[in-house]
Symmetry: C2
Subunit: 368 residues, 2 copies
């Protein structure tokens, strides 16, 4: 498998203006090599030059990871003392003849740490943004990848269903988040979750990216839960919004609008249409209901090995949807200092339409 | 609190050759501002120029986070369309007059994404490594910080004690890791753990950074568990090594050597001595026992908000230990393709010596 992924990257490089790419630990490196490294203070860099045996620079203590690979790699190992690192990076870059070349990078992933070491080995090279070329490697999920994502959705849904009966007025967001993480693990998620669950009650729900805090659930709150699981290295990313006891009429109304927007977004998802259409379909519902200014983010983002990756469901994104693309549909309405609603599903484009991986009820359920 | 942290950074900048620093989401930004952001595809950057009101550039959907801050901040918000971002960054940099200045960065934290946007606003500036200046802000923990770390150690120890009776021959590393995460949460860890626990049996234990996999525990294995908890934003990072049933004599011997090395490292930790001394004390024990080449990493790293931060216990680090510095002491012996041992404790330097936060038994206990 990994050889064929090298072949695919070589083909992408040949079709691009790039001579090479450099990668630090992250999903692209893992997808390409099968190896996992943490982002640490010790730089790890894969240097992949067109039609050459790739080179990896890594610390001595990670040497075991390259011991039994099913493909060829040039391994450059450095000791603990940072004063020796630059020289090792230089040797790796020289082995691939990188200097003066066009070396693609992933700005969202690559840190200055790895960039500066790599650049020390190829100071006269250009380092253009290769995000698109590299995202392309992972953009269309194959059947195995979709099944892993389906597994991640199943685990997430089962975990939340197990947790719902435990939600009580007076519990802190933080407590609820911990309980949800436990349920995710108990239901089979890998320990490295795609992201820490968001559990936001009342006014905190008006902040789409709130961290669970000490606020206790109160009757009349809306409760936004945004959570996901990891299975076989692939993730799910879902949101449901609950009513804590009885909630005022406007909250019921905005929940219904978001539910319709979510359905409209899912219905717009099919091969051959621009990503923008998914955003527009969901946004129109919310705008027509008069809440347009309270839907402050795009409608969705790609998912796979990462919780946020290409393609993005944004009104200006004319990229066409293709079979195998996987993403979220997650419209929301956020009433500042009052409450928020978001409903998020996971969708994979098929040959004829879209496969919605998530099927938990979307109506507003009452908890507490 | 946050104002005084701005004051401290201003004082550090005045004492340095830097005019400003730029920070992306991470512990330094959180320490300084009290705000938490995830690292996403949307860049968030704090621009802090000496003796000016700091500026933050962030996406519209994060606006809530800056709504009720107890200090002044210039807020620059960008909409969802990336084509508009550069302009907003330029305005923020201009508001602080950053161009042509010396702007410190954290290469271990800052991604090319944020760097390139910030640089677009100050193309003629220099961007030197300010890791030391910025690490200095968090280097000496105050009493509140130490108590948070003590809490994180207590949670971690209680979680592992609760898990030990559940460890059985035939269980997969992955299963054990999930169980340990559940115990950590049940015992009060914040959901965002400092790192995914390492649970490595037999030959996997010879890889200091192995990820828990499908390998099942076997009688005769050594079992390395490296785990930690988060409490009040501060972390713990511990390791203990267990015997799965009876293990061969050499493994008992190396466990004893590592235990002695750990004790020697802890004993060397006191104010006024170089970090190198802690490394040397631990390493000498292992070298004298003839296993020096199997101790392939430094003896420890700083801990606090991050699982790896300054100061580093490395043989070449002549930085002097000072009261409030917190770090791990974690010598190990790794016999390739056979087994590994590591014993890791958390230590804080005091006025007169060191406070060892962790006190779980270090002798080799039998499990399974």
């Amino acid at each position: 498998m990994t050889h064929s992924r090298f072949d695919k990257l070589n083909a992408s490089l040949r079709a691009s203006s790039l001579d090479a790419v450099i990668l630090n630990p992250g999903p692209t490196l893992t997808h390409l090599t099968g190896m996992r490294f943490h982002l640490m203070e010790r730089p790890v860099v894969l240097m992949f030059a067109k039609d050459q045996i790739p080179a990896i620079v890594l610390p001595e203590l990670e040497l075991q990871k390259v011991a039994a690979l099913p493909y060829k790699l040039q391994v450059f190992v450095y000791p603990e003392n940072p004063s020796e690192w630059e020289d090792i990076f230089r040797r790796a870059a020289q082995a691939l003849g990188l200097d003066g070349k066009r070396i693609g990078v992933e700005p969202r992933q690559l840190r200055l740490l790895e960039f500066r070491y790599a650049k020390a080995g190829a100071p006269e090279a250009d380092y253009p943004d290769a995000s698109d070329v590299l995202a392309g490697l992972r953009l269309r999920k194959d059947r195995t990848e979709v099944e892993a994502m389906r597994g991640a959705v199943k685990i997430a849904q089962a975990a939340l269903e197990a947790m719902i009966p435990l939600i009580k007025i007076g519990m802190a967001e933080r407590e609820l988040a911990a309980e949800l993480v436990m349920q995710l693990l108990r239901h089979g998620s890998e320990p490295e979750l795609p992201f820490a669950p968001i559990v936001s009650g009342g006014p905190n729900g008006a902040n789409p990216h709130a961290s669970p805090g000490d606020r206790k659930l109160q009757a009349g709150d809306l409760l936004v839960i945004d959570w996901g699981a990891t299975y076989d290295g692939y993730i799910s990313d879902l949101t449901r919004t609950f009513a804590v006891g009885n909630v005022e009429e406007e909250y019921q109304k905005i929940h219904k609008i978001v539910q319709e927007a979510n359905a409209a977004g899912r219905a717009a998802a099919k091969p051959g249409v621009p990503c923008a259409n998914v955003d527009k379909a969901a946004r129109e519902v919310i705008e027509n209901a008069g809440y347009g200014i309270y839907f402050t983010h795009r409608t969705g983002h790609g998912i796979g090995m990462e919780a946020h990756e290409d393609p993005y469901m944004r009104g200006d994104n004319m990229q066409l949807l293709e079979p195998g693309m996987a993403f979220t549909v997650e419209p929301g309405i956020y009433l500042p200092e009052r409450n928020g609603v978001r409903i998020e599903d996971n969708v994979v484009i098929t040959e004829t339409g879209a496969d919605v991986l998530s099927d938990m009820p979307r109506e507003m359920r009452m908890v507490g």
